[in-house]
């Protein structure tokens, strides 16, 4: 089994860990009835009734799936 010969320095450990960065998701902005929502593109959205209870998933005006 291969075994590290030298102790890994704090600097190189931290340099490796520093490379792990979060990327901002690409969102689309939709303004509907004065309310702005940001959502992922090309993805079905949940349709809610007036009380906010989820009804079904919709994509491009078509009912796609149940929630």
């Amino acid at each position: 089994m291969a075994v590290p010969k030298r102790k890994m320095s704090r600097a190189s450990t931290r340099a490796r860990r520093a490379q792990w960065k979060a990327t901002p998701p690409t969102l689309v902005k939709t303004v509907e009835g004065g309310k702005t929502t940001y959502s992922l593109p090309h993805r079905a959205k949940v349709v809610e009734d007036s009380t906010g209870a989820p009804l079904y998933m919709e994509y491009k005006g078509r009912k796609v799936a149940d929630v």
Partner: protein, 164 residues
């Protein structure tokens, strides 16, 4: 697993699965539907080689095949839904496109393409003559303008050269 997914899709017409599985099963499903549209015994046996369940295959041949008779491919539709809670896998709804074919956008495109194909031949003939008439005039004007400009440039350049 793909065969089982395809059988489930033919049974339920619309199933929820992961994006990877849906994209892998799509070609298989479309090929099976093509066999179903052919409808003969050989085609049925080839479908039965993939899907063992005779009831599903019967349903595919008798119910689904007539609905997609006029559709030339693209029998399935994949819609992304979101991400699964446990492993964050992208979930999709894959469904059979059983609606009757509406050739409206397709025909519009085709007619436009056909018009565009036939029009240039006619337009080209019409355009060449006016273009031929206009072009010499324009080119002559441009040529004059260029000459005037070059003359001016020369005139400006000359004193500088003299000064040196």
């Amino acid at each position: 697993m793909l065969a089982n997914l395809a059988a489930a899709l033919f049974t339920h017409k619309s199933i929820k699965t992961t994006e990877t599985k849906a994209k892998r099963m799509r070609p298989l499903v479309e090929r099976l539907i093509t066999f179903a549209k052919r409808g003969d015994l050989h085609a049925r046996r080839r479908v039965l080689a993939v899907i063992g369940d005779k009831t599903v295959v019967h349903e595919l041949f008798t119910e689904i095949a007539p609905l997609v008779e006029l559709r030339e491919g693209g029998y399935t539709r994949i819609t992304k839904l979101g991400f699964r809670k446990g492993d964050n896998a992208s979930m999709v709804q894959i469904e059979l496109v059983l609606e009757p074919v509406s050739p409206k956008p397709k025909s519009a495109k085709k007619t436009a393409a056909a018009a565009a194909a036939s029009a240039p031949a006619e337009v080209a003939v019409e355009e060449t003559e006016p273009a031929a008439e206009e072009a010499p005039v324009e080119s002559a004007e441009q040529a004059e303008a260029v000459e005037v400009e070059t003359a001016e440039v020369d005139a400006e350049a000359a004193p500088v050269g003299d000064a040196k």
